[in-house]
Symmetry: C2
Amino acid sequence: MTITIIGIGLIGGSMAITLKENGFADKIIGVDQHQESLDKALRRRIIDEDMPLREGVENADLIILATPVDAMLQLLPQILDMLTDQVLIEVGSTKERILEKVKDHPKRKNYVATHPMAGTEYSGIEAAIPNLFDGKFTVICDGQDSDPAAVELVEKMYRSMNMEIARIDAKNHDVHAAYVSHISHISSFALALTVLEKEQDEKQIFELASSGFASTVRLAKSSPDMWTPIFRQNRDNLLDVLDEHINVLSQFRSFLIKNNFDGIHQAMEKANRIGEILDK
Amino acid sequence: MTITIIGIGLIGGSMAITLKENGFADKIIGVDQHQESLDKALRRRIIDEDMPLREGVENADLIILATPVDAMLQLLPQILDMLTDQVLIEVGSTKERILEKVKDHPKRKNYVATHPMAGTEYSGIEAAIPNLFDGKFTVICDGQDSDPAAVELVEKMYRSMNMEIARIDAKNHDVHAAYVSHISHISSFALALTVLEKEQDEKQIFELASSGFASTVRLAKSSPDMWTPIFRQNRDNLLDVLDEHINVLSQFRSFLIKNNFDGIHQAMEKANRIGEILDK
């Protein structure tokens, strides 16, 4: 099977590596607006060939759209226009706006909306790695609006990557993603800014930072170009979660102001339950 | 040299492993209010012998106090009362209150205030590991109030653990610790609570959590018994940093409300600088 991947970055590049390595793809074609990324992907043998968009679409059995989510809004209808019987998926971190955009397209059934829930704080083809998806979940959204054979092919592909599959409607996907992914990024960016502002006066401060701090601000290294459009498309859900998060922090603040350390202890005990869930 | 470690948990236990392994200690004596922890430490050969407090102090050349910081306030003057010419250090995450407590003690010069900036989200003797301190920084606070020979011994010990040494006064230590350690814990606890509250209705939510979420909430697994007294002793500094952090989050909130995605992009770009600092 020939797979064309549009957007050869962290996700697209890592999918290319995985799908070539496990034999699901015989050939990987890369499409990217940056020729430099394609050249790097060719040199690392992550793709077999690079092509312009239309040619890449025409030569594929399966097309994976892996650009930032703002570009998806533009590209998805254009690619659907080009399709004959190929299957098209995208791997964006938001779903409602993207699905809305193509809901009446005559080729809608060729398209399957997916979100492999994996990533790192790095971006670009340099960041593409094997095993990024191993053991993780992929969401398939609104699968009932896609051709069953297309969904079957896509599920087969994700299973070949050793991923588990969850089916969620687009609306719920975006709420869940706000809770388990998008707010973590906001929190991490904000924590980095809080400490960086202090650091302007105190150069020594980071010598003292231990691994706990590094873990909490890791996501603050993430790409603004990738995350700004995600936050834009999921603004309403993110605002809800951010309000709740600020409320919880304000509760901690209120405990501190009132010297209510029993309250803080109890809140931390409740929070500890996250360990049982994540370590299980 | 015989070293007595009071409080055989994550930090005390990991120091015992390291100092025995590198030959700095010939013998490690363990003191702990929980006999079960001492028995586990004996079985794992982390300590050579366990003793009651007074006997442990009398038989040591160097004493390391590694209890939670509330217990330190009680134990430190008691141990100083027992000293002849032994050197005593503590390894607490706060410094101002602890140093204030013993500032006029006749044996003050036998005591060196330190903070090895290392840890994990786990606690207790089960969590003790080798190499916890490798390449990390230790702070020595207000060293001018300690006997120079005592400081020299303590620096030699930390260097034997492959740690770098920073000298900071207690007041600045507590401000810095609030920025690079304590606020990360509050942020992580609060993020866990935010998502756990949602999860009461939506069991599936955690299946979708990727490694980024796990990284950001990792510290929320930390022990409330250890952290409540740290927050109590560093309350004022922590409140300052928490206010700043809530302000930065409120700025993100305001950008979202106003659909000011350029503002969000710029804030994230500024936050990205944390990567240059942490990865250098």
